[in-house]
């Protein structure tokens, strides 16, 4: 019995190692904000959200499979939450058996604990069946159709009766029948619990009736060591049955764990949806395209993490970058360049894990990997030089990045002067582009941006953070060639509220008088 709600044909493994670039991506795209919204204060949901979001799918059918399941979830959230509760409750039973892994266990203790757990699981399985009976026809996705069908078929009434039978038999009311062979030194070996062929009352008498076919003895009451020996014989006899039953309860548990894990991703999607819906933010199912040419188009694309952190709605952007291999974003400081870059990265990442995306419309080619290289503020405290550090990160990326990946660069190469940084950047980016990597570059380095502009490539798009004639920013990103001046001056004025030239004059005068 496989859950298969995350993949059509395989399990979702929450402990699989994350891609090597995950840590950088979490930091650069501020993914923890996203994960926290999906988790809604639940550690397990957080873990699953992180795993699912960062383990990108790389083919359209897999993405579509999840999109369909997710649509069912968005339509019937209460059924999904009830299913999730059944799994969570079933797993809670595991606490009863913590000592199964302890040192002082014996087959008889394992057997009695497992029997108790089996009784508890039986209740959960019956609940599961009932949910399937009541709701199956409301679900249309391939994943849920298959899942409910499986539950109804596998957990039928006859099957529940078989389980009841085992629970009764395991009480051993007519004693235990154990087979054995002659082992080393003629000691009994290969002790195996047998099911009597006939279980009607008095089977033991019938079994041993023939003369010379059986011999008996009675262990005297006062023979303590004899009783102890008999006890051990019994323990050896039920050892394998106890093992089989304990493993069986573990199998059932593992089924519920798988169910909980796979549902957890969709619960996370529901949680995030509730938050965004409350704010009136739009979402849409993206269109993943399994093509080798670069596709990237969107309407109303916004940074979902920024939205989660702010009160009102955030500014959405339009983007038409189909066929573009390089997108260079320049323009005013604090003009929304980083946010814009992040919104693209987040949408791409969410699309590739089968989620809806924060936009009115979004389509993109499926990338084999998403990488981020953002300027890090905290780098100044590091012992190794800043350029050294950032180029090391770039080199780590180069170790992993492949054709058909996308690389988001945010003010890369800016830890040295513009001339050197531009030269390194130009060489790195050209090398990536020619290797089939899509690059989105946010930069303040005019020389770097301009060098690409001069190429006049058909597949290079230049975008600019909009700045109104009066200096105000709209946080909209529009097409436009790089301009030679940045807008740091504006920002400086805004923050310091003084006339920079005046400030400079004063500083000059002070320097003169100090002489």
């Amino acid at each position: 019995m496989k859950v298969f709600l995350m993949y059509r044909d395989r399990d979702f493994d929450v402990s699989r190692p994350l891609p090597a670039n995950s840590e950088a991506m979490i930091q650069d795209l501020e993914l923890n904000t996203l994960f926290r919204a999906m988790a809604d204060d639940d550690k397990f949901l957080l873990e699953v959200a992180r795993q699912a979001v960062l383990s990108s799918l790389v083919d359209a059918p897999s993405i579509m499979y999840r999109q369909q399941v997710l649509k069912d979830c968005l339509e019937h959230p209460s059924v999904i939450r009830e299913l999730y509760d059944v799994a969570v409750e079933a797993i809670r039973n595991e606490k009863e058996s913590w000592w199964l892994s302890s040192y002082f266990r014996s087959p008889s203790l394992i057997l009695s604990t497992s029997t108790r757990m089996l009784e508890l699981f039986l209740t959960s399985l019956i609940r599961l069946r009932r949910i399937a009976d009541d709701n199956a026809e409301l679900f249309h996705s391939e994943g849920f159709t298959r899942f409910f069908k499986m539950i109804k078929e596998e957990l039928n009434d006859q099957y529940f009766a078989i389980i009841q039978n085992h629970l009764r038999r395991l009480k051993f009311e007519d004693g235990t029948l154990i087979s054995a062979e002659l082992g080393k030194g003629l000691k009994g070996s290969n002790y195996t619990l047998r099911r009597p062929l006939e279980e009607r009352q008095g089977w033991t008498e019938r079994l041993f009736r023939r003369r010379g076919s059986s011999y008996s003895f009675e262990v005297a009451d006062r023979d303590e060591s004899g009783h102890e020996s008999l006890r051990e014989l019994y323990e050896r006899g039920i050892n394998r049955v106890a093992d089989a039953l304990a493993r069986s309860t573990n199998h059932i548990l593992s089924f519920f764990v798988a169910l909980r894990t796979e549902l957890a991703f969709y619960i996370g999607c529901l949680n995030l949806y509730d938050r965004l819906a409350k704010k009136g933010e739009a979402i849409c199912m993206p269109e993943p395209l399994q093509v080798s040419e670069p596709i990237l188009s969107s309407r109303g694309l916004y940074d979902v993490c920024l939205s989660l952190r702010t009160e009102g709605k955030v500014v959405g952007n339009e983007l038409h970058a189909d066929k573009m291999r390089l997108i260079v974003i320049t323009g005013a400081n604090q003009g929304g360049k980083s946010t814009f870059l992040r919104s693209i990265g987040l949408a791409q990442l969410m699309m590739q894990c089968g989620m809806y995306v924060p936009a009115e419309m979004f389509r993109a080619n499926i990338c084999t990997g998403i990488f981020t290289h953002f300027k890090r503020e905290e780098d100044t405290t590091m012992k190794s030089g800043k350029l050294d550090e950032e180029l090391k990160r770039m080199s780590d990326i180069a170790d992993q990045i492949r054709p058909n990946c996308v690389l988001l660069c945010n003010e890369s190469f800016s830890s040295t002067n513009e001339r050197e940084g531009s030269e390194i950047g130009r060489q790195v980016i050209r090398a990536f582009l020619e290797s089939g990597v899509k690059v989105l570059l946010v930069t303040n380095m005019f020389e770097l941006a301009h060098s690409f502009y001069e190429l006049r490539g058909e597949d290079i798009l230049f975008l600019r953070a909009e700045r109104l004639p009066d200096g105000r920013r709209t946080f909209r990103i529009t097409e436009g060639e790089p301009l030679s001046t940045s807008h740091g001056e504006d920002l400086y004025r805004e923050i310091f509220g003084i006339d920079e030239q005046k400030h400079n004059r004063e500083a000059y005068a002070k320097a003169q008088s100090d002489r």
Partner: protein, 459 residues
């Protein structure tokens, strides 16, 4: 130690055969089997229940038969050149064909087979135990597992309890076994008779082979671990007349074993004595490999007399009658006079045993006395050694001893030319030059005149 070149050659042949991997593996398996057999016999002795004793005894014979048969089979397929192995192979062939061995094998197999087919059931209800023949009842554990297999997502751990297994039976097990014996009377009667019938089943020659071959195996296994680190071993040429000895890429076996454990490299050395040369006088920096060289020289001759391979890529050695050693002793003796006295007493005993065919190894003798005494005593002793025409090594800190005449050869432990503090552990034939070495060390530590002056000047 062997004193006859023919005996040494006999062992060399056996070693050479055993260098073959196939034969070695066969011998190793055989030895393991014989060891297991002995353990089974010991266990059989210890046990209390008669059936149990007989069962362990049966297993011992079974292991013995299998081991002997496998060895016979395998040894017939390898190419053997040594006199030792060839005649043992012939013996094995005739022994395993003998009526005595064949019937032992047959009876053992038959009985084991009968016992393995015994299958019974124990029914426990309260304190009542009933034993019966097994009647085809299904394995309930499998049925349980089958019922719940559908939920399996991946591998889960086992919950099987591991029971402590004792060889002995308690009285409940004993009673059950007695009842099983009543259910299968023929089988158990046969077991009893078999036990009584086969008391002295071990062949004496095979038993002796098992013991003696261990010497070869143990030595080969030991040197092979060293060979895997790149060290070389060879069959030495041995003469009982010529005292011209030499070896290439040789080393101290004990040191090499220690360094191999620490994964460090071993430095090898070459040496030769030709014409009338007899004694290596070894000098040079401490910790430079002098003692190691002395040990190596002694070991080579000792191992050669055991008929073993010796450390080195090539070696020509002398069949000595005795290897005499005089090493400085660590133990504390109250005063210097006492210590010197002790050394001289030991030396006198050694010289009394020595013949012209003996080898003598002297290491830092008289190091505790004055240079003048050491020079005097060293000279005296060396002259005695030379007079007796003995081969040997004399390790000393006194340079002058290295040029006493044509019988002595000076060997010096060397240092790296660019770093005098670094030992190479290489010993070379050259005149002793302790002073140049001492100056270099002094410079390195800034203790030359000029250096000391400069250092003192800044204060």
């Amino acid at each position: 130690m062997l004193s006859d070149l023919n005996q040494i050659a006999y062992r060399h042949e056996v070693f050479k055969d055993l260098e073959g991997k196939k034969l070695r593996q066969s011998i190793a398996n055989f030895a393991k089997g014989m060891h297991m057999m002995r353990e089974h016999l010991a266990q059989s002795e210890k046990l209390h229940y008669e059936y149990q004793k007989a069962s362990w005894f049966l297993d011992a014979i079974s292991i013995y038969c299998d081991s002997v048969e496998s060895l016979t089979q395998e040894i017939s397929l390898v190419n053997l050149t040594s006199r030792g192995f060839q005649s043992f192979r012939e013996y094995l062939k005739s022994y395993t064909k003998s009526e005595r061995f064949r019937s032992l094998v047959d009876e053992t197999r038959k009985l084991k087979d009968m016992l393995s087919k015994v299958k019974y059931c124990i029914h426990i209800r309260g304190s009542r135990v009933t034993v019966s023949r097994y009647g085809g009842q299904p394995d309930y554990g499998i049925e349980v597992a089958e019922t719940f297999r559908k939920f399996q997502q991946g591998e889960v751990k086992t919950y099987l309890t591991v029971f402590h297994e004792r060889a002995e039976m308690d009285h409940i097990e004993g009673r059950i076994l007695d009842l099983v014996a009543r259910l299968f009377p023929d089988v158990f009667l046969e077991l009893k008779e078999y036990y009584a019938r086969h008391h002295d089943f071990i062949d004496q020659i095979i038993s002796r082979f098992d013991r003696e071959v261990q010497f070869y195996i143990a030595y080969l296994e030991f040197i092979e671990t060293l060979m895997s680190t790149g060290l070389k071993f060879c069959y030495p040429g041995i003469s009982d007349r010529s005292k011209e000895v030499w070896a290439r890429e040789t080393f101290d076996l004990a040191l090499a074993a220690k360094l191999a454990r620490e994964h460090s490299n071993v430095v090898t050395n070459d040496f030769y004595l030709k014409g009338r040369e007899r004694i290596f006088v070894v000098s040079g920096p401490n910790q430079g490999g002098k003692t190691t060289f002395a040990r190596t020289f002694g070991q080579l001759h000792y191992l050669a007399r055991l008929g073993c391979l010796v450390p080195g890529s090539e070696a020509q050695l002398f069949l000595c009658d005795n290897i005499l050693t005089h090493f400085e002793r660590e133990e504390h003796i109250e005063n210097l006079r006492g210590k010197l006295q002790d050394e001289l007493v030991r030396l006198r005993k050694i010289m009394q045993q020595a013949t012209s065919n003996s080898i003598i190894i002297m290491n830092e003798s008289f190091a505790s006395t004055t240079v003048k005494d050491a020079l005097f005593l060293g000279k005296e002793v060396l002259i005695q050694i030379i007079k007796k025409d003995m081969l040997g090594v004399y390790v000393t800190f006194i340079d002058e001893l290295s040029s006493l005449g044509e019988a002595t050869v000076s060997m010096v432990s060397t240092v790296a030319p660019d770093n005098p503090a670094k030992r190479t552990y290489k010993l070379v034939r050259k005149p002793a030059d302790g002073k140049a070495y001492a100056m270099a060390i002094a410079e390195k530590y800034g203790l030359t005149y000029e250096a000391l002056r400069r250092r003192m000047a800044g204060k």
